[in-house]
Each structure stands twice: as structure tokens, then as C-alpha cells.
Subunit: 374 residues, 2 copies
């Protein structure tokens, strides 16, 4: 037997999971300091109930807090710079982030900018003179996995795309997973974000950087996610708290997976779809996954077969059809658009980390599957 295994593993976030987990484990917040900046978007934190639970815990502990609730969907560098200003004014000991991927990713940038007075473009240098503030993350969607990753993806307006930065100090110190916070999500948002989680699991499992540790996480996550797919197909009524709970754990497992592998080309090819066509991130990924799986099947049929088993499908075709059926609208791209998005994607490291050789043709075919006229 060849000895090529690797079980290199690093995931330092303390994950706390269960209903009422903030209340049950509030003492953990007390260990983070006495001043907290809450970072969130305009409404989801309050609608989910997470804001009330968090502020009630902070008040119990005598922790002073201030609110920065101006995180935009797909936050820009300008947007996180505002958050950095707010943080430097308030001088918190730590940041509590509530929301989907946008507030969680923005919070990581703000955690850096709070203690490093640098232009936000310098976030991409990855080295910061001062250690970013610690973060407690409270996801209100089951998809991003950002609560357990060291990554933050921001929109760079003048480059017309989204781009990630990261570093080991950006893993949140704490992640509070409570499925009740996802209960108020609109059904389509639940589906979109769930498919983002699946995309993390699948891209990580098929990544050229996959190892035995990330495989363990991805396989567990896919098995769990697979049990939720029927509910996503049935519709709103089927998404009970038990399903949402499994999706939330699957999402965390997806984050833990890509913390080891990064994402593959699905993510970088999806960013222009979000930037130019306003297609929600998970939906963009979901509509690119069928072509990605078909490409991966030619490189690594055993792994794709394992994915199909976990998701209870017999072929990449049937799984692709199922995924496409989860999303109502479809954008048709012109040849110029296809070419342009492929050009943007080819130089990304996500392409290098993807299985096999990813040519222009592979990317065009992947896009064509759901985004061009038949």
C-alpha cells in the first residue's frame, strides 16, 4: 500500500450548538472582554431572534455593546471601511457577528481594521501588524460556514468582482449554532444558502487539496445534507427545525472542510454571476455544480460516485436536474459574457485547486449548462 495519506488538521473555533445555546453558554462571551461591537445587516439579526438573545446575554454579563448594523449584502471594501471606523471609535474588546455570510465576512474585515488603521485594499496583504479582534459568530443562515472559516469574501467594486482574504487569526473564537435563528428565513433563501453549504462540501471533497481530515468532514456533511434534500424539494412546510438543524451542522461541516481545502472553481466562476446579475451566491454555485460534477467525474469518478451516494442520486445528470429544479429563474448569458467571466476565473487559485485540468472549455461548458440558450 502506498503511503500518501495526510491528516493535517486545524480548526480552532469553539463550536457550540443547540437550541438556546447563547443563553446556555453565555459565560463564554464573558471571557472575551467587556466591550463588544455587534456587526450585522439591516434586519436579519433582529428578525431571527439572535440579536435579542445576544444582547440579553451581554447585558447579563455587564458587557457594553454598540451596534454596527450597516453591513450590505455582498459587502464592499467601502462598507467594511465604515465598520472599521465604527470599531476604532468604540474600541471594543471583541466583535459579535450575526447574520448570513455577508455580516460574518464583513465582521472579519472589521476585526482587522479595528486595530489596524489601513486602507481596506490592504486586507488582501494577509499580514496585519496587530492581531485582529476576536469574533463570536452567530449564523442566521445554514450555508456560509463562515462561522468556522478563516476567510472573508468582499466585493471589490472597481475590479467588478468578489475576492477573498484570510488568515489563521480570522477563525472566529466562538460559533453559536442555534437552528431557531434560521426559522424565519424566506424559503428560497433557505434553499440558496443550503446549496452554498453543499457546494463547500462538494468542492472541498473534490479539491486537489483534499486530505483525510477534510474528507472526514465533507463526507459527514454530505451524508447529513443528503437527508435534507427531500425537504428542500418539497417546499416550505417540510423545513422544520429538525431539518434546519441538520442543515446548520452540514453548513458548519462545509466551512470546516473548506478551511482545509479552500473552494474550487465553482466559487470563482460564480462571483461574476452575483456581481453582474445579482444571482444569490448559493444559487450561482448550485447552477454551476452540475457542470463541475460532470468535469470532476471524468477526473475522479470514485469521488463523484460517493457524492451521488450521499445525495441519493444515480447520475450527475439526475443530480444536476434536481439542483436546477431548486431555483426558479434563469439568466441567459451572451457569448461575450460567457467569455468575460471565464477570463476572470481562469487566473484564480480556485482553478488550480480544482480537480484535473481546468481549461477555458471546461469553464465554458460549466457555465453553458444552466446559463446559455440550449
Amino acid at each position: 500500500m502506498q503511503l500518501q495519506s495526510s491528516f493535517s488538521f486545524f480548526m480552532p473555533t469553539r463550536v457550540l450548538h443547540g437550541q438556546n445555546i447563547i443563553q446556555d453558554e453565555q459565560s463564554r462571551l464573558g471571557e472575551m472582554g467587556t466591550r463588544c461591537l455587534i456587526v450585522t445587516g439591516a434586519s436579519s439579526a433582529k428578525a431571527s431572534g439572535a440579536f435579542q438573545d445576544l444582547t440579553s446575554a451581554l447585558e447579563n454579563l455587564g458587557i457594553r455593546y454598540e451596534l454596527f448594523d450597516q453591513v450590505e449584502p455582498n459587502p464592499s471594501l467601502e462598507n467594511v471601511a465604515q465598520g472599521g471606523d465604527a470599531a476604532r471609535r468604540f474600541e471594543p474588546d471583541f466583535i459579535a457577528a450575526i447574520g448570513g455570510g455577508s455580516p460574518l465576512d464583513a465582521a472579519k474585515a472589521i476585526a482587522v481594521l479595528a486595530v489596524n488603521d489601513i486602507p481596506p485594499q490592504q486586507l488582501y496583504d494577509g499580514h496585519f501588524a496587530n492581531t485582529p479582534l476576536p469574533i463570536a459568530a452567530v449564523p442566521t443562515t445554514a450555508g456560509t460556514g463562515s462561522e468556522v472559516t478563516p476567510y472573508s469574501v468582499l466585493t471589490i467594486t472597481d475590479q467588478e468582482t468578489k475576492k477573498g482574504f484570510g488568515g489563521p487569526d480570522l477563525f472566529p473564537k466562538l460559533a453559536f449554532l442555534d437552528p431557531r435563528y434560521c426559522q424565519s428565513l424566506p424559503f428560497q433563501v433557505s434553499v440558496d444558502t443550503a446549496v452554498d453549504a453543499l457546494s463547500h462540501l462538494v468542492e472541498g471533497y473534490l479539491s486537489a487539496r483534499a486530505n483525510d481530515a477534510s474528507d472526514m468532514l465533507a463526507e459527514r456533511g454530505m451524508a447529513l445534507w443528503g437527508t435534507c434534500l427531500p425537504a428542500l424539494q418539497i417546499g416550505e412546510g417540510a423545513l422544520d427545525t429538525a431539518v434546519r438543524d441538520r442543515l446548520l451542522v452540514a453548513s458548519a461541516l462545509g466551512g470546516m472542510t473548506i478551511s482545509h481545502t479552500g473552494t474550487a472553481y465553482v466559487h470563482s466562476l460564480g462571483y461574476p454571476l452575483t456581481f453582474y446579475h445579482d444571482i444569490p451566491h448559493g444559487q450561482a454555485n448550485g447552477l454551476l455544480l452540475p457542470g463541475f460534477l460532470r468535469h470532476a467525474e471524468s477526473v475522479n469518478p470514485d469521488r463523484v460516485a460517493a457524492i451521488l451516494r450521499h445525495l441519493d442520486h444515480r447520475s450527475t445528470k439526475s443530480l444536476g436536474d434536481t439542483l436546477a429544479s431548486l431555483f426558479p429563474r434563469r439568466v441567459q448569458l451572451s457569448q461575450d459574457e460567457l467569455d468575460s467571466y471565464v477570463e476572470k476565473t481562469l487566473p484564480t487559485k480556485n482553478v488550480t485547486h480544482s480537480p484535473g485540468t481546468v481549461t477555458r472549455e471546461v469553464l465554458i461548458n460549466t457555465l453553458a449548462e444552466n446559463f446559455s440558450r440550449p
Copy 2:
């Protein structure tokens, strides 16, 4: 469906795995400081090659080091106090621990005592004024899992037993897993320590504290360990580097499992067997596992069936016979000894964390299986 899942997870050690991993990842040591105390036993560090690899990395990095190589097998409080003295004299920034469970566990105590001038009995208080020194752990056996746990088990001579202490700051910062360091182990030591790893996996999987995260770790570890059992039965020649590599990962997974669950009564019942009869720790556990599994089967037959599947056995009887066959000698205990060891075990928290109700009779039956005359 009932919603009772928990995926609470915490395992902050950075695990680095592969042949020549210290050399490949030596820069990680540079992040820990400029003065290193190496903690190890009399010989295994050097025999394994780990000492040479580590000191060569430290020299490359210009890190000053001193050696404390006086860790005894089953180290006592007196022994770690000596190490603490050595550390306070040298004032290291971090500790590098090389060895099996004894040096790794001793290093955790020394990491506390290096910066807290307290009598070693106070280790059991669990709260330390100063944060213990960070540890880089290099296992030379595939069994302890101590490289990824926050636990240290020491011998308390005047209480005539072994007892563990721990705390979240005692997770090693780094664990370097290189299967080459296990290659020089005597065959029976390889078997004993491998069975210790199995015991961690099985006790964690059957623990009353098991959750979805620890299950993931335990199931992966048991599946991997199961592929190694035939080699352990065949003998020395079958223990090639590939098998040793899988055992080393299974052992780390065992450590990651019990970091979440703790151990069950097998461990606390095994300590007197080691203390009074000098039975190696893994061997003591291995000879108690058959009775433990039989007890657990009456409480949770599904989980025991899963264990049997992973280990490719049809019944607890046949698995018990296989385990017993791995150990050459057998101690026969008198009725007084049986009673006394059960008395010592009953008040331990390991009993509380074990599956079902653990009565005196359960413990007597477990011991009787391999330690009393038929």
C-alpha cells in the same frame, strides 16, 4: 423527528501529519519563541529519530534549547515537579514534548509548573494564575492521543493511583505526526498502545457525553483502526509504515474523540492494574474492553454493532477473544484485589460518563473477564 443533536466541537491543536513533517513544517516552531525546553523520556526520543529531527529544526531556526529527559514511565507528581524546576531555571518560551503518553502528559504538567510556582498537587485545581507555556507535541507511539487532548494523567504515589487533570489551555498548539517515529517501537508496545487508541475511540463512542462531532471522529478512527487489526494479529512483519501511519491517525482521532467525551470506566478501572501490577496502560484497557463492550451492548446494542462492523467482528465474544489474544501474560487477581479496584473506580467521573448504570457488579464482571481464575 426529535431534535436532540449536538455538534459542539473544540479541538484547537494544529495537527501536521506526514513523513518528515517536522522538517517540512519547521517554520511553525519559529512562531513559538526563541527558547525551547525539550521534555522526553530516557531513550525513546533518540531511538525514534524524533529528537534529531526536532533539534535540527530548532538549530536551523536559531532556537536555544535545553533537554529534560528524565520523564519516568507513568510519571509521578514528584517527577513533573523536577521538570517544573528545570523549566523555571531555563525559562523557555515553549515546550517540545517527544514520546509516548508519559512524556506528553508530563510536558503538560511542566508547562503549567514552568510559569506557576505551585506544588504539583495543585495541578488538580485546574485553574492557573498564569497561562501554561505552549507545547509542540511529537508522539512516538500510536496510542496516547495526548498530542491532541487537554488532559494529563499522572501517578499520585500516596493515593496509589493515576489521576488526570486538564484544561483548555493544555491542548498542544502543534502536533507533529510522523509514522517513522513509531517504526522502532518493540512489537508488543506497538500493540499495547494501538489498543489504547482503540479504547479511546470505543469509550468515546459509547460515552454518555458522545455527540455528533465526537461520533464523526470516533467512527472515522474505528474504521481506520479496523484496517490495522489484522496486522496487529499477524505480528511484527506486518506492521509496515503504512499500517503505522493509519494507527497514528487513528490514535489522533481517538484523542480528538476523548477531548469531547472524556474516557469511560475502562480507563479508571485500568489505572490500579497499571499501578499495582505494572500492566501497561493499553494492555490494561484492552483486557477490560471485552467486559465493557458486553455491558454496553445491553444498554446500546446499535452502537456496539457499529463498533463490531468497523472492526470486522460478529460478536462481542469474538472481538473480546481477539483482543485478549493480543496480550501474552495474564494477572490473576484475588477477590480482595477485585473489590479494592472496584472501590477505587466507583467514585470516578468516568463511571458517570459510561453508558447505562455502572454498578459494582458491572465492574466486577468486567474485571473478572480477563483477570480472575475461571
